[in-house]
Symmetry: D2
Subunit: 345 residues, 4 copies
């Protein structure tokens, strides 16, 4: 019998205070399409937290929609986006970006993070008009394998992009986890000043659904709502998203929730480390990729839900364990007890 | 001071029982991407209500997304969709259907309803491969101007479509209002058996957001989730939609809510009729389009929110009044009192 | 037995001097992708004839490709193009423009020509971001039914477009016929100064294939070859197009050929007129749409090829007769003799 | 002074017999859009040569257009095409395939040729509907770096594709060179029976322009002309392409021309080999990629045109030399003399 799932960070509903806020505001009449007072309040909060009073904020329902919307709006038909080959847009969006007409130029990385040396070769092209023209660099923070960018790394990328007339777009589906990792030195204001556009994920950090797109680059702001409407991303009841983000950002709830998710993951990975196992990648956020013996994996599978990420050799595989804002510490403790027990077998 | 808005049917949140259901289920761990138990329960309920145990159900966040998703999935690149020129896909979706690559062939109608005689001329084309190939007929029920289809009208359309190898797609953003109108003779089972694909709107009938796409045509079912994922329409927390529809469909809540909306509209339109004013179209659902003197409109605007739909002549305009599941009857009564009072002025 | 086809203006090959030029230059090595000396020479000639030394010229293989290429390059995703409902892009390109993602907003006209009063209502839209945003006005000269624009009409359209931030795009598949019509008062320089982009058709005026796109608007020039490459419109052997246009434009050959086509059509339409028949539209170019009795049409069909354009009533239809640069005058004379003879029957 | 260009195989016009055929047929009236007698004759010839009387033939103007047309027609929105990373569709078409909405899944290869072991890892995907669905395998013969497939290799690919429900599409821009290489064991009939769709390039083998798409797979034939029209690929004067292919295929002219191109390349590569230089890839067709000292390259550049393909190390680069049907043997001889002379310096 499965006693807990570590399969993803969207298995539960939302933080109770969001349900309370939805309930409290429920019968208020609010304007549609993002013109409600809660979306406005969210906008003001984000402007304050980023230290940038002129960023534009748009709330949408999910990460893939945010990615295809932003890239579809930014790119001219012949322009491409550069991404790590592990990037969500390259692997897990069923070709959503290509469906907007654009090539994803993917490059292998050792840890899910893009560096200048990964991007430079992509810029070297056959003479003009035969190839696509790279225009956007897409990064995720935290990455799809749990790693995070340092402030220096982001600054270097940002400078490189500016020098090469590239735009920097940060997928922040798990941005709150990145910004609350124990080894993080980046702030929301840094993210905003170093990128052209990014989003703050809600779906994976305690909202029922929702991502907040933040546009700092002046040239990308115009007519964005037309793009939203055309992609089916403009919600009639924008309040449903506005109320949630208003609540998440108030008193930094989103960061508290992310911190809990990270803490639970660290607890697990330390226990695994103590048992002498290694990891596919060094994660300080809420995704852990330990490499375990197949036999141990089979035992764990009888009591816990998780993904087998990658067969490493005949006898070992990397699994993916994800914790969330809602992961009860006692389930983590139980998991560790079981892990130790099975390891001795 | 505005004492009530009749601007649309998505100004309020959701029916309180939905919030209760969300709260009750909140910490359950559920599978993602529509594999949760609530979406399954919704599926079973719709199969029962349509009398068709093999229809496929997919829940998405909004109507424009539903429309572009379905049409983008059904149509081959060179195929077109036929719609009334008042059809939502033709006017109010910022070119969402064309953005999926397909021509909307629009035809004028007298009441927002498509008839065979409207469609036939569109099928007469220049010799093959120079023109688009019509493949889908798109109708809305209730229509964008509040009218509804009779069972006979739907049956005729359905037969005509089958005879001409056309697919029939029904936009049901306000389907619950249509099926509960006093002069309706159509059931959900009829809708399901007479169309190839349709959807049941939730956003405008008491949900926070959500539309339930119902696919009856076997040939349209395969790989639909790929299309959803690619359009950003597949929610990680599918439960957020599943719980709402489960609640709305249980004990026919959705139809009770629609009935209230209709009743409030009828009350208003009868009062308007009693005062001797006429209407742009004969609506029996929750949208009313009275033609009023400009002076009266200005007086009403000071106390109520609504759209001015169309200037009819120098001195008169049609306005659009919309009621919803949440419209308090006392606001309607107050509106009628004010209307009578201002009319005497 | 069919003794001559008046079905279209592309039934024959090309003017013999083009074949001579192709033969003469055949073994020269020339640069690819439009960088050959003949394309350069064509560019210079067009710059001279338009009186605009900075227009950009791009040669492509056909009219539909030119249309989808130009509109796909100019329009942002949510922008639309306004066209007469008889416009080639609206009717005879199998949805090519929609396949680039853009709505064609078509309006009925009495003679295939767009006027300000046709465009104005399209600009009146529902509040922003719910609808497409009109950006380009598409006209054809000569139109699809043989009519032509006067200089005054073009100037009015041009001013209106500028005042309303619209771009004016002229489809010149039969531009040479328009500019050589007996009642024309427009020059190539006028076309260039009054539009943002247009093209000079070669396929229908004596080339094996080819249309010359002329871009005057500075803002539309950048990266156009990227668009061409991406659409498959950039020919490796650009010389094939360059040599033909070089020849057609040299000594105004293209206008002499168009003049012949027009003269043949006028001869036919005068004869028809003399017999007391009427026309669907008043054409002064190489397309004639007489309304004839069905019995006469059947007799003509035994000896001549042409399209039946439109059934007018039970006993009459409009047919389409097209003449070309290659139509032998003796075939026209024979047609007139037969027409008179059959009319007496 | 440049005395000869080895830059590409489309620097010259066309084989003189094509000009003669164009001239001879010039004033015949022929049906448009591929219904002319020459396109029909081409169709019959290809059916005979492939031994398949039911293949469909469509003539288009260029290779990129052929690729985007075929893949755009074959693939459903969420389906992808697998290609070598050197594949033309992946590198040199400005994102034309992605612009039709489809992901190109590229894999590195050692010689431009795809093998089963390259394809298999691409088929291993994350659980369904999160990723694209591979559907087509795209190969080029000869490849972009001059190599060719053996019959056994093609048969293995073909079987693998059938077993995995993949379609095999062969880009034959230089198919004639592949089939006439000294080490080739593949026939046109083999190509036709082992692939689902392929094309025979004309642009690079003596035509003014044109590629002949051959569809063997019954499921891919329907409505192909709609796709052509929509992409701007259906020529009004289809005769322009029909006459050329009729001439090229008659008496196997296309293969004689390819054989000459290959022979010239072999002569050059043998001379280079004799001088002790190595090659980037082992080509037996008309593209040669010798690795030469920079100093030698500079000397050659003063008298010959060619591309510098890739810097190999500080002192050496690979250059690309291409010969064609029109390359005069005396220029090749002169090149070899110069090469030997400069090598001694």
């Amino acid at each position: 019998m499965i006693i807990h799932n570590f399969i993803n960070d969207y298995s539960e509903g939302c933080h109770p205070s969001i349900l309370e806020a939805l309930t409290k505001s429920n019968l208020e009449q609010q304007a549609g399409y993002g013109n409600d007072s809660y979306t406005q309040s969210t906008t003001e909060t984000i402007r304050k937290k980023t230290g940038n009073p002129s960023v534009d904020i748009h709330l949408v329902t999910g990460g893939t929609l945010a990615n295809l919307l932003v890239l579809g709006a930014i790119l001219k038909p012949f322009e491409s986006v550069i991404a790590a080959d592990t990037g969500h847009i390259n692997t897990h969006e069923a070709g959503a970006i290509e469906a907007t007409g654009h090539k994803v130029e993917s490059v292998p990385t050792r840890d899910g993070k893009l560096r200048i040396s990964d991007i430079e070769p992509v810029l070297v092209k056959f003479p003009e008009f035969h190839t696509v023209k790279p225009r956007v660099v897409y990064i995720s923070n935290s990455t799809e394998i749990g790693t995070i960018y340092t402030k220096q790394e982001l600054a270097q990328l940002s400078n490189f992009c500016k020098a090469n007339k590239l735009l920097l777009f940060l997928d922040g589906a798990r941005l709150a986890m990145a910004l609350t990792a124990h080894d993080n030195d980046v702030s929301l204001a840094d993210i905003s000043s170093l990128t052209d556009v990014f989003y703050i994920g809600g779906t994976k950090v305690g909202a029922l659904l929702g991502e907040a797109i933040v546009i700092a680059n002046e040239g990308l702001k115009k007519d964005f709502k037309y793009h939203m409407k055309q992609r089916g991303a403009l919600m009639a009841k924008g309040r449903t998203l506005g109320i949630q983000f208003d609540q998440l950002l108030k008193d930094d709830l989103i960061f508290q929730l992310a911190q809990h998710a990270n803490a639970m993951a660290i607890k697990i990975s330390q226990a695994i480390n103590d048992l002498g196992y290694t990891f596919l990648a060094q994660s300080s956020t809420n995704q852990v990729f330990p490499i375990l013996p197949n036999s141990l994996i089979h035992q764990l599978q009888e009591r816990y839900g998780f993904l087998i990420w990658k067969q490493v050799d005949d006898k070992h595989a990397a699994i993916r364990l994800i914790t969330s804002w809602a992961t009860p510490e006692e389930k983590v403790d139980q998991f560790i007890i079981d892990l130790r027990r099975f390891s001795k077998d």
